[in-house]
């Protein structure tokens, strides 16, 4: 082998003074790092992905995991990642697969935006003592109301509102399919959203029977592969989402390897067991905006115009114009998925190089829709890289109605963002279909953790709003005056329509 082995990604070591040879690391590691030889525990660091399962379950804190124990000769252009990708492709001749979101060190716009608070001239509002409204309605709104004056002085509403989703917090959970994640993981998320009064997406994997009890909090997805789609599926969802693209891999379809298509996944997706589930890059019935409009109406007709229909697009250069087209269809919401959005598996080249950040995309979509006087025709849901409540507040200031979280919810269930989801070996029982791994994830306990996370963020959001002297989320939405850019360049501040700090 002319290239030989590449340096270790992680080096695992066990402190012999602390280890009591209980073997929990061996039981927990699904990547084959540890093995028993006689009384000793042996380590194969090359298999380690830093999922921290062993670390989390070692009763003695005896394990240390060190990243990049060997240095390459440093070079600003020929980074370690670039060199290793070349080694990989020189050996395989294939497209490199990767997991999770964009791993390039682009600046994070969220981290260069700061929020406002009241001092003196307007009082901040204390959410512990005053009502604080986070209730959000997702869907089309009328531009004005038709009212009839009745003889008794009362007023009758003539305008009929189209169905909206009512959520008590602007935080929903995005689409992660059964197949990409385990049924236990989906069940935990489903329990959490139904208790909170928010919604989650099914992903392009159908809706498993055991999740029917939670269907009124589920948004069912219709993607280019149409896996799992029939009238029963459409009717069960609270809303329907057409997935055009995904922030982690704009412009291409999905790929679920056959190894993950077990009997149960095959039934739910309505595909043969063990077959690869490959979603085409475009929908084969959508080659233009008019075609999308027809699909939206087709889905609405099929469900008797009772359900909102969302359209999800990846954040790309032309998102604003695309969203304006979507707003002119019967669609009720547009989901903008930024380039930091997570995924189980994406070609590395797409994950790291295609698409734009959600902050810029939402800002330009909101501005374009306002400019054209059609902002009320569609709600904006932002997703892709929402890590904390401050991100939620900031993206709402930039014009979003609500957010989808994905990775954050998985982290609440133990995910360590190791980025090896595509291997199907997830030691936390999340991104795997192996029964022995799936059973590690207890739906009940994990649903409480997810619920706690969303509850905590909601409390923080209420505090941030109160500090800004705002008691209703409508007044935060698109309120870019309450943001300032810190070390953002002029061009970007113009796109975001925010001033610099101090201005």
């Amino acid at each position: 082998m002319s290239i030989g082995s590449t340096p270790l990604k992680f080096k695992v070591s066990i402190d012999p003074d602390r280890c009591m040879s209980c073997g929990r690391c061996i039981e927990n590691c699904s990547y084959g790092v540890y093995r028993k030889e006689g009384d000793d525990i042996r380590i194969n660091s090359r298999n380690c992905v830093a999922c921290h399962r062993c670390l989390a379950f070692c009763p003695r804190d005896a394990i240390d995991i060190e990243e990049k124990p060997n240095d390459y000769r440093s070079h600003p252009l020929w980074t370690r990642e670039v060199r290793e990708a070349i080694f990989n492709q020189a050996k395989t001749g294939k497209i490199i697969l990767a997991g999770m979101g964009n791993a390039q060190p682009y600046p994070v716009i969220f981290d260069r935006l700061v929020l406002d608070a009241c001092q003196v001239t307007n009082p901040s509002i204390d959410p512990l003592r005053e009502p604080m409204e986070l209730r959000t309605y997702i869907g089309k709104k009328p531009s004005s109301l038709t009212l009839k004056q009745l003889p008794d002085g009362e007023v009758e509403l003539i305008t009929k509102l189209t169905p909206n989703l009512q959520i008590e917090t602007p935080i929903m959970i995005g689409h992660m399919s059964y197949g990409a994640i385990s049924l236990n993981a989906q069940t935990a998320l489903a329990k959490a959203v139904s208790r909170i009064g928010t919604f989650m997406g099914t992903g392009e994997g159908g809706l498993h029977e055991s999740l029917y009890p939670y269907q009124k909090n589920m948004i069912v997805q219709v993607a280019s592969g149409r896996f799992g789609v029939d009238i029963n599926y459409l009717e069960r969802g609270a809303a329907i989402e057409i997935k055009i693209g995904q922030g982690a891999k704009p412009g291409i379809g999905g790929h679920l390897p056959g190894e993950k298509v077990c009997a149960d996944v095959s039934c739910t997706r309505m595909i043969p067991e063990g077959s690869d589930a490959i979603s085409p890059a475009p929908h084969h019935d959508i080659y233009s905006i008019e075609d999308l409009k027809q699909l939206v109406r087709g889905l609405k007709e099929a469900t008797e115009w009772k359900k909102p229909v969302f359209v999800k697009i990846a954040a790309v250069h032309n998102s604003a114009a695309i969203a304006a087209g979507i707003a002119r269809s019967s669609a009720d919401a547009v989901v903008i998925d930024g380039f930091r959005g997570g995924t189980g598996a994406a070609p590395r080249v797409f994950r790291d190089h295609v698409g734009i950040p959600v902050e810029a995309a939402v800002a330009s979509v909101d501005a374009k829709l306002r400019q054209q006087g059609i902002r009320h025709k569609v709600s904006i849901i932002a997703s892709g890289g929402i890590r904390e409540s401050a991100d939620v507040a900031k993206i709402i200031c930039l014009g979003a109605d609500a957010v989808y979280i994905g990775t954050s919810a998985l982290v609440a269930m133990g995910c360590r963002v190791c980025g090896t989801c595509y291997q199907g070996n997830c030691a936390w029982g999340i991104a795997t279909q192996k029964p022995e791994l799936v059973k590690r994830l207890d739906p009940e306990t994990n649903s409480v953790q997810v619920e706690n996370l969303i509850h905590g963020w909601t409390l923080e959001l209420a505090e941030l709003m109160g500090a800004a002297g705002i008691n209703s989320i409508e007044s935060l939405r698109g309120n870019r005056d309450r943001l300032r850019g810190y070390m953002l360049d002029e061009g970007l501040m113009e796109v975001l329509d925010v001033k610099t700090v101090g201005a």
């Binding site: 009502p131 509102l161 939405r477």
Partner: protein, 350 residues
């Protein structure tokens, strides 16, 4: 801070500005001597069919010609003159106030159902956005705004406010934070027949401004108050809501109250909040809005600014302070403090 007062005589009996000046001066504790203003309805009976445009010129020679040309392009200047002012030691006359009586040529906006108003609105937005040394700060019929940087009594004396007689008055004593000493920043703000005085700060301004601008209004005054005038114009004149429902949209009940309403009422209130969410005004405020028929006072949803109303015969008073009302009318009755978000509405009999 800031102090506001509004009074309407429902029988259209005229009141001169003298008492209003005294009443406003009662609230000097609420101001800082950097801005005050008055608006009176019914002051131009001889020209009541024409739009009375009040303009601040930076410089008559440099700036007036362009405005004359623009107005002539869109209609007819029936009469124009300098607004009389009287030198005051504490007021630096940085602008020359001017009044035009203007008749728009409605044939120039054939597609509009309200061509006169649309032409005047267009002119106000255009002139004020261009900032070419002219600012139209009053544009209604048979009414006029008088304002400047200074204490209320000095501003009143500058214009000799007691010489004007109106059946409806609004007045404002300013404690500026955003734009000190700028005449355009003093209240009342006016568009067509709508005038607004405001105490407080609108924390939802960024949302409200972007909403109203998507309907073609332009916010040009560097202050949150003008957005109120445009919102009321949109909701009442263009969308046809009653004053009461317009206030419901601007300072709506909380969801927990709406959830407990009977079904029909609940449906109406939900529809108002869904439709007019971006028009909802947040933050501390007490506001008086007037047009030629009515005076409306209301506060934010948790009443973070004071508002008191009182009555005396045909007259309804709304103010930041009871003392200010009593200064005009010591025998005022029915003093009450409206609840948060609930409007006080006074309307002329005919």
């Amino acid at each position: 801070m800031c102090g506001i007062i509004g009074v309407i005589d429902r029988n259209r009996q005229l009141m001169d500005g003298g008492k209003i000046r005294e009443s406003l001066a009662m609230m000097d504790e609420r101001g800082s001597g950097e801005g005050a203003g008055y608006v009176a309805y019914g002051i131009y009976p001889d020209y009541k069919d024409y739009y009375a445009l009040h303009v601040f010129f930076d410089n008559i020679r440099e700036n007036k010609g362009a405005l004359d040309t623009l107005l002539e392009k869109w209609g007819t200047i029936v009469h124009d003159e300098q607004i009389k002012t009287y030198e005051q030691p504490n007021i630096r006359k940085v602008h020359t106030p001017w009044r035009y009586f203007f008749r728009p040529d409605r044939s120039l906006m054939p597609k509009s159902t309200t061509p006169d108003e649309d032409i005047v609105t267009h002119l106000v937005m255009k002139v004020n956005a261009e900032k070419n040394g002219a600012l139209i700060f009053s544009s209604g019929k048979n009414l006029g705004v008088f304002k400047a940087a200074g204490w209320p009594e000095d501003v009143a004396n500058f214009y000799r406010i007691e010489d004007y007689k109106g059946y409806l008055w609004l007045a404002h004593n300013r404690y500026p934070t955003n734009t000190s000493g700028w005449w355009g920043g003093a209240h009342p703000f006016n568009l067509l027949n709508w005038s607004v005085v405001h105490n407080g700060e609108i924390t939802s301004y960024g949302t409200n401004r972007r909403y109203i601008e998507s309907f073609g209004y332009k916010c040009t005054m560097y202050t949150d108050t003008e957005v109120v005038a445009y919102l009321v114009d949109l909701l009442v004149r263009k969308h046809g809501l009653s004053e009461k429902l317009a206030v419901r949209a601007l300072a709506p009940p909380f969801w927990e109250e709406i959830d407990l309403m009977p079904p029909k009422e609940q449906e109406l209130n939900r529809a108002i909040r869904l439709t007019y969410g971006p028009a909802l005004m947040n933050g501390p405020f007490a506001i008086c809005v007037a047009n030629e028929h009515s005076l409306v006072g209301f506060t934010d949803r948790i009443k973070l600014r004071p508002l008191v109303s009182g009555e005396s015969g045909d007259r309804l008073y709304i103010s930041s302070e009871e003392a200010a009302i009593r200064r005009i009318d010591p025998d005022v009755e029915n003093i009450s403090m409206p609840k948060a978000g609930e409007p006080v509405i006074g309307r002329v009999y005919s």
